[in-house]
Symmetry: C2
Subunit: 190 residues, 2 copies
């Protein structure tokens, strides 16, 4: 039996990503977000949503580019940290011991240590409420070589990403269950 708890978020799980930008002085910065998701296949695009007063909001608005970096579980502390402090006051890369690499296509920094980094160009901005939604078209996707299988396939389990549960908890990724478009076929009436 379900209970109505009102107008609250109940999407489980959401990804944990660190969005990379350069600020007005060229300093690399990061912000940790869980309000993010895929929003298009062709062209591949993701949305990231930020409050207007966040330091990274101005950087994305100015340069119209950003990176999306997926930490593996062992970077939980660094990921949590980059969501607590502001790049106005600190160099988060330095404090967290992370290495900024300039994007190959866009003018935004990648996190060298993380297994996945996407370079994105802003194509749309939507004012939703407390948050502005930025659509980023993916123009490059960097994957740790150890997580690459033959034929350009990604061994997703080796990414070992974090998952966020709205309300405020980090979880790890669990066991592989199945490939998509497989087990559901059992329910198709012949």
């Amino acid at each position: 039996m379900k209970k109505n708890i009102g107008a609250r978020l109940g999407l489980y799980p959401t990804p944990v990503v660190l969005v990379g930008t350069y600020d007005g002085t060229g300093k690399p910065n990061l912000i940790t977000l869980a309000w993010a998701g895929v929003c298009c296949s062709e062209p591949p695009a993701v949305q990231v949503s930020l409050r207007k007063d966040r330091y990274s909001h101005a950087a994305i608005t100015e340069r119209r580019v950003f990176t999306v970096n997926v930490p593996s579980k062992k970077y939980l502390t660094e990921a949590d940290y980059a969501g607590i402090v502001s790049g106005r006051n600190v160099n988060k890369f330095e404090s967290a011991g992370l290495t900024p690499l300039k994007g190959e296509v866009v003018d935004a920094p990648l996190v060298a240590e993380f297994p996945v980094s996407m370079e994105c160009k802003v194509t749309h901005v939507l004012e939703v409420g407390s948050h502005d939604l930025f659509v980023g078209q993916i123009v490059a996707c960097w994957i740790e070589e150890e997580a690459l299988r033959g034929g350009g396939k990604v061994d997703a389990g080796k990414i070992d990403p974090l998952a966020y549960m709205p309300g405020g908890e980090y979880f790890g990724l669990g066991e592989f269950l199945s490939a998509g478009y497989t087990v559901g076929r059992n329910l198709i009436k012949k």
Copy 2:
């Protein structure tokens, strides 16, 4: 060392949700999506992205409402199924053995068996490319009572949701790691 695999999706993990609508004849329908995410806190809102030719796209466009239903892991088969077949031809609720419940606020069906269902009103539509992004403001959130702790807090682990890894694999949720805004404080310089 990372390798650039080109303009490809690398967001891990994404949620797995079944979006509920009524079609033009009033038949309840579902579509399984992993292209979804949170995009605002106040008001709480989620985005779901669908191809224009999907049967549910017309239903959302027509009634401007939908539900977002989060399956627990034991509904993997039903979740995968509702992403394979089209509601043009079948009643997916019936074929999957799921029970449609009319939303309390919006004119769209909830999945009775799933631990979480959100009722959403469309506030924005964005044409991104192959997919249109629908922003749904959450006007009600139904949670299985067994997953509710004191004070309206949700025991996220009891939701036991699926996670999708772009490329095409379902995973379970792993172990609880930490609360947010906690472990990262260790990196704040005193």
